[in-house]
Symmetry: C2
Subunit: 376 residues, 2 copies
């Protein structure tokens, strides 16, 4: 059977699908695209068994067929072509022949029955527990950009290897934590009437961050899966089927001392301190007293140290407190839109809350960082 | 002792010196800068024992001292500072203290006697075999950019691990080869009266490609070393003390068939063929007949192949000839300034010469590629 597509149009589509193709897998079949041609619609799928991506374009053909094609090779060939018409010929001998004005390229394909089943998503009327909402793509992207960095990478705690999406009366809350730091962002614009929570795994989050744009995205959720339908692509991922830790219990509510400072000034100083906090603990020390913050770090192995004074507003008790400098750096990098931030402190051993000094409308954002021990 | 420098000025200087600092070395002392302060001049050295770089700035101080300082840490600290004055204090206790308006940083230093001797270069009147010339920096850079990619990476043939600089009556010739391909560039503008050849090792070439600019550079050469003096930096490298292979004997002079084609069109097609020439030999086949070139490649392991026709001018005998596609790609990438090129051929087993279809004034450029066997 035969059909034609524009090289750039197909390349654009494959660029969005290929993130689901695993680069290293014990199942080589996953290194393929599934091409499903049905009633003049070419739908392309890729999956790593956790997430799947699919997208479609219309083509002109009479036949229906499903085959699997080496993903990277097809993608690389299309990328290397200029803007041209590519003639696809799916021959009976297991060869897919691509023809352009000057060239002819032949790839081997396999039958679709060798491809694993794509996690199918129930149609709207099929499932009672199906929830459906619509969110602006940029709202979703910004929330994920601010929270997802704090997800855990440790397989020992699978629930924390995802980002929590919590639909509540007051809005949609995003939470991510690895036990050392936590981000908690509430978007009050997204009011859905739902009362439910879902843990979306890291891979799906990182793909979403790449493909989301200002267009609306529809979310369909069951107990086991969530589907993100963008204008031109659908991402389905399994949910992490674990109970998310009770994050609210770790957020201190009575941290009475406010340390207010400029985000960028502190961030630049922390970057310098990271050059000296190179030991395992990567410790940077904050010595806080009235309207003065001194941060310092020391590498005993190479006999090097750094110390800086930073302008701030502070009228609480004098406190010496230690942090992992890389975690402070991460948090500040994700607060870089905020001119000023406030560290809410209580003592050198209690979790510290960091908030923007001025909240955005319809948004509540807080980050939390656990201190590390200062061994004086 | 104490002195002050501007952070950005010193950073700029260190950026040029740090390429000589080895990243992995069995001699940790080489991971330092040598700071030599003498008569109000701060001269900074780095070396990996093969090449050394040095540069100087004026400072205000009464004392003379030489110390060695951790290169990467000092460089990273300076890069992380804004544009500011840095106060250096070399304390007697082995500590170098840097102070800015808001910060204080302390590094450990060692005495200069632990640093290896920098290969010293004879002053002009010290050595009888010293040759001295001046070259425009851009001329030198362009010649190195076009030739150096063909240097060998195989330690078995040390002479070919450098680029040959051959001073002759007709000009300065640059030659690089790894036995599979060869570049031979004659710059006829650089007439020196010298009759000598020098093999400059790869590390020096790659540093030069980064630091050369349009200003003149002075070359001082002895039998064992060459020095490149730029306006603000000096690079000294040992020469490769081997006999360079007789490259002239491998250049065929009677290749009678000219294949003329557009560089960019062939280059794009070769990039596509590389997707299919993935076996060990990376072979791409050129099938040449009257005014037609077909290139093709095949990956038997995955059952994929590609074939393209390319416009050309050719009136010689029909020839089928194979090349390593990566080598063809490299050559074309370094001929990308040339709109049209000519492949000069004789047969499927003889070296092929590639030249621009129009030579630049004062320049003779030729590249050579060995064919690989076609097993039909």
């Amino acid at each position: 059977m035969e059909f034609k597509v524009n090289s750039k149009e197909l390349e654009k589509l494959l660029t969005k699908i290929i993130p689901a193709v695993p680069t290293r897998t014990p199942m080589p079949i996953l290194e393929n695209f599934l091409f499903e041609i049905k009633d003049g619609l070419l739908t392309i799928y890729a999956t790593d068994l956790e997430i799947s991506l699919k997208s479609s374009i219309n083509i002109v053909t009479e036949d229906n067929i499903s085959i699997v094609i080496p993903a990277k090779l097809l993608y690389d060939v299309l990328r290397s072509l200029g803007d041209t018409t590519v003639h696809f010929d799916i021959a009976g001998n297991g060869k897919l022949n691509l023809t352009t004005d000057n060239g002819q390229y032949s790839l081997s394909y396999l039958g679709a029955d060798e491809f694993p089943e794509i996690p199918s998503f129930p149609e709207e009327n099929e499932s009672d527990d199906l929830a459906e909402i619509s969110i602006n793509g940029m709202d979703l992207k910004e929330a994920l950009d601010k929270t997802s960095f704090a997800m855990s990478k440790e397989e020992m705690r699978p629930a924390m290897m995802g980002t929590l999406l919590e639909f509540r009366e007051e809005g949609l809350r995003f939470v991510a934590t690895d036990g050392h730091r936590l981000v908690n962002l509430l978007n009050k614009k997204i009011v859905t009437g739902l009362d439910n929570q879902y843990i979306v795994p890291e891979k799906a989050i990182s793909v979403l961050q790449k493909v989301l744009d200002e267009k609306d995205v529809k979310l369909y959720m069951t107990k086991t899966h969530i589907s993100f339908r963008l204008s031109d692509i659908e991402l389905i991922t399994r949910l992490i089927g674990q109970k998310y830790p009770d994050y609210k219990s770790v957020i201190p509510l009575e941290n009475e001392f406010d340390l207010k400072l400029e985000t960028k000034e502190l961030h630049n100083a922390i970057k310098r301190m990271m050059l000296f906090s190179t030991s395992n603990t990567r410790r940077v020390k904050f010595s806080i007293k009235e309207n003065n913050l001194e941060i310092s770090a020391e590498d005993l192995d190479i006999g090097a140290s750094g110390r800086e004074n930073i302008m701030c507003k502070y009228s609480g008790d004098a406190i010496d407190i230690g942090f992992n400098s890389a975690y402070v750096h991460d948090i500040l990098a994700h607060l870089n839109e905020e001119k000023e931030i406030i560290f809410k402190l209580h003592s050198s051993t209690k979790a510290v809350v960091i908030v923007p000094s001025v909240s955005k409308e319809n948004e509540e954002l807080m980050m939390l960082i656990m201190p590390v021990r200062l061994n004086n």
